[in-house]
Symmetry: C2
Subunit: 217 residues, 2 copies
């Protein structure tokens, strides 16, 4: 479909750009990142090779842009979910649940790996840090309220959360994903005695049912 000339010219460029990203991701998933070529992409998208070079300088850049787009989308979704819930505990749970479902649906390259091996790019790292920051802040807030454990830094707990939930990609069902969130959350809860008998055994946890359905993709 070389003739997808849309209304305005800017909309057209955006459409072509998106098509390039999607096609490249598909080819990469199908034949491996290493084998994707500019020629291949151009042919698959239905544009000339020279045209492709007017959008992106090389395959690396396309994969980077694709990754970037994904993370940005997810960030927006998660921020929305967060703002629809109230209280630190509920917010965190809602966000984590949404993140788990996103991971499951997309295949979870969210973590670190693809970015790590796809040559580290500052933008990607920064987007990753934003996500990490969001979780960390919710955890810190919740720890202050006594809902979450405070014997481990929120920073580290956030890392734990994000990685644990990428496991959703390997799970077979939505129900299993929900169970994963439950397990992950129970690692965060307050009220556990530590190996050395240190931890504050003061507050208690209170539960509440689910809510916050995961965002449709």
């Amino acid at each position: 479909m070389p003739k997808l000339w849309n209304e305005t010219i800017e909309a057209h460029r955006r459409a072509v750009r998106d098509a390039i990203l999607s096609t490249t991701a598909q080819l990469a998933a199908e034949h491996g990142v290493r084998s994707v070529t500019m020629s291949q992409i151009a042919e698959q998208v239905g544009i000339g090779r020279a045209t492709l070079y007017k959008y992106f300088p090389d395959v690396e850049a396309i994969l980077l842009a694709w990754h970037d787009r994904r993370i940005t989308e997810h960030l927006e979704q998660l921020a929305e979910v967060r703002d629809q819930a109230d209280g630190p505990g509920d917010r965190l749970e809602a966000v984590l649940r949404a993140f788990a479902h996103i991971s499951r649906q997309t295949g979870a390259h969210n973590g670190t790996e693809l970015g790590a091996f796809l040559h580290r790019d500052e933008r990607v790292v920064r987007a990753q840090q934003q996500l990490h920051g969001m979780i960390r802040d919710l955890l810190a807030e919740g720890a202050q309220a006594g809902v979450f454990r405070d014997d481990v830094a929120p920073d580290e707990l956030a890392t734990y959360c994000l990685h644990a939930l990428t496991a959703a990609a390997a799970l077979p069902s939505e129900a299993a994903t929900d169970r994963l969130v439950t397990v992950t959350l129970s690692g965060l809860r307050n009220g556990h005695s530590m190996p050395d008998g240190r931890g504050p055994a003061g507050r208690h946890e209170h539960h509440h049912g689910h809510h916050a359905g995961h965002p449709g993709h």
Copy 2:
């Protein structure tokens, strides 16, 4: 060093093969998987390009072999750690702790990502499954003994464990890694009330200090 002719001829081939794997991994980590070339590898290793082709058919195969070697090594290490501990709870904890430290040291492509994007290979998947199986069995054993939660299938808990602990790669210290293991373990413990108020609140867990130092690499 084209002259690394070791004693026996088989030892030599093994040495060259290992050098190829290491060099390739290094180049991939340095410039990105996509940019690694056979010519580059041959030059870096110090052998002729044609010779390299007598060891591996292409870069993909080298990366696969490298990944394979890593996972195999780790499996052996973990099996050893497991057999040095007694009882389901202790064994699982020892294995998880070792796994976390390995993840931290190596950078943790253990998870799924590299393999997933590096074109799925049966061998790699199978090695991955072995690791998963080991954890799952320990969890099942422990659940029967009442040490771990039994409201979630061992299979799913194993997935949770492995992913959660790859977070170690992002942690700054050994101490932080230990804390991560603690948090992860507390997600596995029995005695939590579930959102629906189901779970058994029976037995308790006993702790004791570490042991089984992580295997030196």
